[in-house]
């Protein structure tokens, strides 16, 4: 409870992270439909056989998860083929940063305390948002649980023990306490251990057939979150401390080797900490949101030839710090017209024990001006973002020149018919990502002359939804979007003169044409209720970098033309059965779309069954999951085999 004490000391700083509608208890608001958004929330989220946020996001359309396999393997998200670094990931309203390489490992974020996971194409379109909410090509919002106290209770307590295949043990506790009329506390801790060992097979028709066990994939991780939620007149505040500490092995690529000869013992240690808070307050037509964050990330990588003779000695430590503050305000001019102005400042530093390292730091100032107009049949949103970036380096002349850019977004929503459930929407957005500190300054590889990587998105879509209060069919919703994206000045690693020397260049041009479609329905038949959600994605993502290349116009690596998912839930007398299916079509592992790089489609089916039992005044809930029922042997990333059939049992005791 030292964390709580610390918090009370810090309490003089008012804050909140999300726009709350004036009360501590907020039910989840469905995402504003003006911009394409997909959400998984509450029970539906918890019932997916998903351990991490990455596992859940796979069910969204337009999304590719790069998964290096197992619990410890890196998992990153790519939305509409624009690249991982164009996806902003926000945790309780404030962006998770990684100035070093710009990618967020979603495998590190547990679903255990998650209330919702929402994906926005373009940008979120809610009131009073920070400038950062405008600053990425697409964004994932992770929202952890906000305490809800039912029937005058003062305490919520839940203890969970999960375990299963790969020697996984995963206990967690959640403790929510009402501290007074206006303040509540929530504490959540989770521990995860897994050996990461699983069997996998590689078979060739009329050729070899081999089965091996994944080695050095063990993970030990501890996560502690402590949050305070408070109410003030016409407003609210929120504060969070986050701590994550882990150790993991790198199982590495599965390549030809004498079986069992070399042990692959390289390891990584991570320690991440952040403190963030925000405050929301309304003064009549003027609404204000202020947020801050401090984050410290430490990464240690060790490869030691004393443990595995085939490797070379590498012992690197990276320390990143981030300070962030944001002030956003909205003024409601009248019933149909708002104006928003947000200004954010961020400071990043990177420290690494690399030879000739320049110790870069970065100041970023973001200013967003936006307005929204709402009439009965038409809604319009327009925003313009100004970004100013200035880098510093310890060595004179080593830093890139400062940059500033203006980038616009326009969003339109139309209700063309009398049926208000049918809407048409469209958006245009141009945004960029700055080269990461690794792109610019990594010893030997970095190139300080890099330009930002720009994306332009055009999207047209429609949604339709209808509900019935009786009958078999209770609800149907459908969305359909067609889009065209362009990525210019794509930052890619290019070899310099041999395989050990690469440098970063602005070379790539990618054009993406795609379709996202999703449909959901809720059915009721006597005591049985069911819901089904289906998504489908088509993507033609072509590389137009080099007209002289024989592979000009090839589909970019790891983007399938077709992919989709199905989630089905059936409820019957307290039993919940969930079936989920993921399909990833054929794709290529390189832009040369030739047989050598071809990857087969893969599809997995997961089942889970859960039931809650009353235990006196308490409740006991049990869930059994079976994943990859048909034991498909597949890879998401070349040479990184995925697990076959595996199990998980979850027991929760709810006070």
């Amino acid at each position: 409870m030292i964390l709580s004490l610390l918090l009370t000391l810090l309490l003089s700083v008012p804050d909140t992270t999300e726009v709350l509608t004036g009360s501590v208890v907020t039910a989840f608001r469905p995402p504003d439909k003006i911009i394409p958004a997909q959400a998984l929330q509450g029970e539906q989220l918890q019932r997916l056989n998903a351990l991490s946020v990455a596992d859940a996001i796979r069910y969204f359309s337009g999304v590719q998860i790069k998964d290096y396999g197992g619990i410890g393997g890196l998992k990153t998200i790519n939305v509409r083929s624009m690249g991982t670094q164009h996806v902003g990931v926000f945790y309780d309203g404030i962006q998770l940063g990684n100035a070093q390489n710009g990618q967020i490992d979603l495998g590190k974020y547990s679903l255990e305390n998650m209330e919702s996971v929402t994906l926005y194409n373009g940008q979120k379109g809610t009131a009073v948002q920070s400038a950062k909410d405008y600053a990425s090509a697409s964004a994932v919002y992770l929202r952890s649980r906000t305490p809800v106290f039912q029937g005058g209770r003062r305490t919520n307590f839940k203890a969970t023990l999960a375990g299963g295949s790969f020697g996984t043990v995963n206990p967690s506790v959640l403790w929510e306490q009402r501290l007074g009329e206006r303040v509540s506390n929530s504490f959540n801790a989770e521990y995860l251990y897994t050996t990461g060992r699983y069997k996998f097979s590689y078979r060739k028709k009329d050729g070899y057939d081999t089965t091996a066990v994944r080695q050095n994939g063990d993970v030990r991780a501890l996560r502690i979150e402590e949050g305070l939620h408070g109410r003030i007149p016409d407003g609210s505040w929120k504060m969070k401390l986050y701590f994550y500490d882990s150790e993991r092995g790198y199982p590495g690529a599965f390549v030809r080797e004498e079986p069992g000869k070399f042990r692959h013992e390289d390891r990584q240690w991570d320690t991440d900490f952040f403190a963030q808070g925000s405050l929301y307050k309304e003064w009549g037509d003027w609404h204000l949101n202020a947020s801050f964050k401090y984050a410290y990330d430490y990464l240690h990588y060790l490869s030691d030839p004393r443990l595995d003779v085939s490797t070379m000695y590498v012992d690197n430590h990276y320390r990143q710090q981030e300070a962030y503050a944001s002030l956003a305000q909205e003024y409601k001019i009248n019933g149909w017209w708002d104006v928003d102005l947000a200004a954010d400042y961020q400071f990043n530093t990177l420290d690494a024990d690399l030879v000739n390292f320049v110790y870069p730091s970065r100041h970023t100032v973001l200013t967003a001006l936006s307005t929204s107009l709402r009439w009965e049949k038409l809604k319009l949103q327009g925003s313009v973002l100004h970004t100013f970036v200035a880098d510093r380096a310890r060595e004179a002349g080593a830093a890139a020149e400062s940059r500033h850019h203006w980038t616009p977004t326009a969003v339109l929503q139309l209700i063309p018919f009398r049926d208000k459930n049918f809407t048409i929407r469209a958006f245009y957005k141009r945004i960029f990502r700055m080269p990461t500190l690794n792109d610019l300054y990594y010893t030997f590889i970095g190139n300080k002359y890099l330009k930002p990587e720009f994306t332009t998105q055009y999207d047209v879509g429609a949604t339709w939804e209808k509900s019935w209060t009786k009958g078999f069919l209770r609800n149907i919703d459908c969305t359909f979007d067609a889009y065209y994206n362009e990525v210019e000045n794509k930052i890619i690693a290019m070899p310099a003169s041999n395989q050990f020397q690469w440098t970063m260049v602005n070379l790539g041009l990618v054009q993406i044409r795609g379709i996202d479609a999703a449909a959901g329905t809720q059915l009721a038949l006597g005591p049985v209720s069911a819901n089904v959600r289906i998504t489908y994605t088509f993507q033609k993502a072509q590389d137009f970098t080099d007209p002289s290349s024989p592979w000009y116009g090839g589909q970019i690596p790891y983007i399938p033309w077709h992919s989709g998912s199905v989630i089905t839930g059936i409820d019957w007398k307290g039993w919940h059965l969930n079936y989920s299916f993921i399909y990833t079509g054929e794709r290529y592992e390189a832009v040369a779309n030739i047989p050598e790089n071809h990857a087969q489609p893969w599809y997995t089916s997961d089942l889970s069954l859960s039931r809650a039992f009353a235990l006196g005044a308490h409740q006991l809930k049990g869930t059994l999951e079976v994943n990859n029922i048909f034991n498909q042997q597949y890879e998401v990333v070349q040479c990184y085999p995925m697990p076959g059939t595996n199990f998980r049992l979850i027991l929760s005791w709810i006070l």
């Binding site: 060739k204 028709k205 390549v255 030809r256 003169s497 079509g585």
Partner: protein
């Protein structure tokens, strides 16, 4: 209209799944033929080309060009060795023929693959962790390796040379040399190995280790220049050794070592060298010298007369077709026809190309290869 939309989405989805869902058993990828034109090359029947493949992709592959039929055949190993688990392996670094066997040094698979040169079929393999290059002498193969013994400080880890019996395929002995040893040559009963120290930036190694082959002990270290890599032995007992420089202040240069006195006799300051190959008295050198200051590479194609130590030309490609190279990566000269072969690794992540030039430096043909084509080895036996 709305039900139609739903039906459309459902049908589209189901059709897509039905069309694509069929997960066939993984096939062994067959080789690909490219007819490029035949030539009479005397007793030289063709050549093997080793493609490195990117690290972690397990895409080291072997190609074969046949002079008689004029066919360039890409990726021949997998179909000829369906039983070898994970094919040729991860990052092929060197290729050589000794007697009836074809040897491929597969760096990140930590092994040397031994094949029958007549069939390219697997005979055996020799485990050498972090193996780099191979040379042969009197029934033994010598393989350089980064993975020497680890002393107290793992930063100071020397490499070694392994001595392998070419009949039993057993490692018979090892000899510790400098840091991260690369290419080797054998002269006067001594083995010379270029130590790079590439993992010790900025403290590169700058020595050539001399090993006495009778005792298999290091007898001397010749100080040369930082980050040594390539080696060629000429007919006059001189070793041409390349220094990669430090990519900042010190550019790549070529040095000449006299094997009689085991010392450096000349520095060819203006001869940057990424790779070289000797044919008669002509040393073909290309350079792709990268500088972090300018963020550019300086590319040259030179021929040096090893007798006079004079640069004969700096443009052995005369028809301007070298402009289409993205990353020249390997070089070979047919000793009979004097045709020049240059490989282009392009962007390293897509298939490369091999270019065949007439002795006058005019392009004869080109063919697509595997990823990162590097080593070419001529064979006097037509592949069956």
């Amino acid at each position: 209209m709305t039900m139609k939309t739903i039906r459309f989405i459902l049908v589209t989805f189901l059709v897509a799944v039905a069309l694509n869902a069929c997960r066939e058993p993984e096939e062994i990828i067959p080789s690909t033929e490219t007819p490029v034109g035949s030539e009479d090359a005397g007793e030289i029947a063709g050549f093997f080309l080793l493609n490195e493949g990117n690290m972690g992709s397990n895409k080291c592959t072997l190609d074969y060009y046949d002079y008689a039929s004029g066919i360039y055949r890409k990726n021949i190993y997998a179909e000829r060795n369906p039983g070898v688990v994970q094919e040729l392996g991860d990052v092929g670094n060197d290729l050589a023929i000794y007697g009836s066997k074809l040897w491929a040094v597969v760096n990140c698979s930590n092994l040397v693959e031994v094949m029958d040169k007549n069939t390219a079929q697997h005979i055996g393999q020799v485990s050498v962790p972090n193996c780099r290059y191979i040379v042969f002498h009197e029934g033994y193969a010598y393989v350089s390796s980064y993975a020497g013994p680890v002393e107290i400080d793992p930063n100071y880890r020397l490499g070694y040379v392994a001595r392998i019996d070419t009949t039993s395929l057993q490692v018979k002995d090892t000899c510790v040399v400098g840091y991260q040893p690369e290419e080797m040559v054998i002269a006067n009963g001594k083995l010379y190995v270029a130590n790079s120290g590439g993992y010790r930036v900025p403290d590169y190694d700058y020595t050539v280790s001399v090993i006495d082959l009778d005792s298999f002990k290091e007898i001397k270290k010749i100080e040369v220049a930082p980050n040594l890599h390539r080696m060629e032995l000429d007919a006059y007992g001189k070793i041409w050794v390349s220094s990669r420089g430090d990519y900042y202040d010190i550019p790549s240069m070529t040095y000449i070592i006299d094997t009689q006195f085991d010392e450096v006799i000349e520095c060819m300051e203006l001869l940057a060298c990424t790779d070289m190959t000797l044919c008669g008295d002509s040393l073909y050198v290309y350079s792709n010298d990268w500088s972090y200051f300018t963020q550019t590479s300086d590319v040259n194609y030179a021929i040096v007369d090893v007798k006079t130590h004079r640069v004969v030309t700096r443009r052995f490609i005369t028809d301007g077709t070298d402009a289409q190279f993205q990353n020249p990566y390997g070089i070979a000269v047919n000793p009979n026809t004097h045709e020049i072969f240059v490989t282009d690794a392009r962007d390293y992540i897509t298939p490369g190309k091999v270019y065949c030039y007439s002795p006058e430096g005019r392009l004869k043909w080109s063919a697509n290869t595997g990823d990162i084509p590097s080593r070419i080895v001529f064979t006097n036996q037509r592949l069956r």
